[in-house]
């Protein structure tokens, strides 16, 4: 060992040298991408709880020579421990279940259908992905990739991560980033579509007050949904099961210490690790491709189609059902809880200042979470 040699070997290991080496520019760009995600999260409030860890993980994963995301690196270990195993998204669903109040859905069950219509975005996007890979030579998505891209339309982070980690882990990074970014953009994406598809008269519809829901009904609901899922679609039971387990912890009222931990410390710890691990999938060679552009465009389409699907079914239901339904609550079916429901409320207030749709929109909103988990179950069952 001598001084010059040592400096030289350190120089070879530096990021500067790494970025100048072949392929290094890719890492450099990915680090910039990570910084942009962090900036969007902090300055624009884009889902900061996820995009800050994802962005930071993306930066760490692209440090030349550090190998943080390669075998033996700590992000590689966290990824295998929590995402390859499926544990992290399921634990987040546990916490989400413990935070969710299904009351508005129980009070007005039929609005659940809107949470179904909005899943149209998933399958339309799936077909879109297949068409893209047929007509764009640079893009080659197989059925699994297409399914993983489609799930962006579910507008539900854990579901998207769970499905993508099973069907096409290589796309996980870009899919998760697209999903969370568009969730943050819901207040910008949805309103024009909602206005275009509804008449001023429809937007002014006031809905009748939701009935009171008893504690017992709230306790029975998660069990009921789980049983249905067991009977019809076992492939969706990990997701639906953990969501309903969390909700049962909350509604049972006898295990508050578990419910509180599930919706606070546990979900926070898992979010930090999940975000870093998702970011570790932002490898330059996977991300800096035409395919990523395809994913970004398809993801946007997914949100738009989902929104339209929800609104159109709401219009139809309004025609058919005896008590009126304001079509604006249809868009909340895409999930993106509670942002989408807030958007419905906001647009509703524009055309009728004392028409509060929030509670009515929460029904389709939470139904959308169930709907996308069911869609994920179908895709898991048929694309494996």
């Amino acid at each position: 060992m001598n001084i010059l040699e040592s400096f030289k070997s350190l120089w070879i290991d530096t990021g500067v040298a790494g970025f100048l080496a072949t392929g290094g520019w890719g890492n450099l760009i990915m680090i910039v991408v990570g910084l942009i995600l962090i900036w969007l999260a902090i300055k624009k409030g884009f889902e900061p709880l996820l995009l800050i860890p994802i962005g930071f993980g993306g930066i760490l994963a692209n440090i030349p020579g550090a190998g943080i995301a390669h075998e033996g690196g700590f992000l590689y270990i966290i990824y295998n421990m929590g995402i390859a195993s499926g544990l992290f998204p399921l634990l987040i669903f546990l916490g989400v279940g413990a935070m969710t109040d299904f009351g508005p859905l129980i009070a007005n069950p039929k609005t659940a259908l809107l949470g179904g219509a909005a899943q149209l975005g998933i399958f339309a996007t799936l077909i879109g992905a297949l068409l893209l890979s047929k007509y764009v030579p640079a893009i080659g998505f197989d059925l699994k990739d297409a399914a993983s891209i489609g799930i962006i339309g579910g507008a539900d982070g854990p579901t998207a991560i769970f499905l993508a980690s099973r069907l096409s882990p290589d796309l996980l990074g870009s899919i998760a980033v697209a999903a969370y970014s568009y969730m943050a953009l819901v207040p910008i994406i949805q309103p024009p579509i909602m206005r275009a598809l509804t008449t001023p008269a429809e937007r002014m519809i006031e809905m009748k007050q939701l009935r009171h829901v008893s504690k017992t009904e709230k306790i029975i609901f998660p069990i009921l949904v789980l049983i249905l899922c067991i009977l019809l679609l076992p492939s969706a039971t990990p997701l639906i099961g953990m969501l309903m387990f969390g909700n049962l912890l909350k509604e049972s009222g006898v295990v508050d210490r578990l419910s509180n931990t599930a919706q606070n410390e546990l979900i926070n710890i898992v979010t930090i690790l999940l975000g870093l691990a998702v970011g570790s999938k932002l490898a330059a060679e996977k991300f800096l491709t035409i395919e990523t552009i395809g994913i970004v465009l398809l993801g946007l389409a997914a949100f738009c189609v989902g929104t339209a699907g929800g609104v159109l079914l709401a219009k139809l239901m309004n025609k058919l059902s005896k008590d009126q339904i304001n079509p604006l609550i249809g868009s909340a079916g895409v999930s993106a809880v509670p942002m989408a429901a807030r958007v419905s409320n906001k647009i509703g207030l524009e055309s009728n200042p004392n028409n509060f749709l929030l509670m009515h929109a929460m029904g389709p909103n939470v139904a959308g979470v169930i709907g996308s988990a069911v869609a994920a179950g179908v895709l898991l069952a048929l694309c494996r």
Partner: protein, 77 residues
């Protein structure tokens, strides 16, 4: 073959949306049954929060220390 895969996509769409709607429709049905039942027999389900054995029996605790200990196994086991 690429034809085939597009068809697969359409199949997935038809099957997937049907399953989603079937699931939610059944969910709505059972929820309505439930609701009907609960509205009919509401009086049988007072809305008081369910109690566990231990808060109940906490009544017979008489010292601060007891309360402290009460946290143990009854909670975790």
């Amino acid at each position: 073959m690429t034809e085939g895969i597009i068809l697969d996509g359409l199949v997935l769409m038809v099957v997937g949306m049907s399953v989603v709607f079937a699931f939610l429709a059944l969910m709505i049905g059972t929820m309505n049954l439930c609701a009907a039942f609960f509205i009919r027999f509401a009086h049988l389900f007072p809305d008081a929060p369910v109690k566990t054995a231990q808060p109940a029996s906490k009544a017979d605790d008489c010292t601060a220390i007891a309360v402290a200990i009460a946290a143990i196994k009854a909670r975790i086991g």
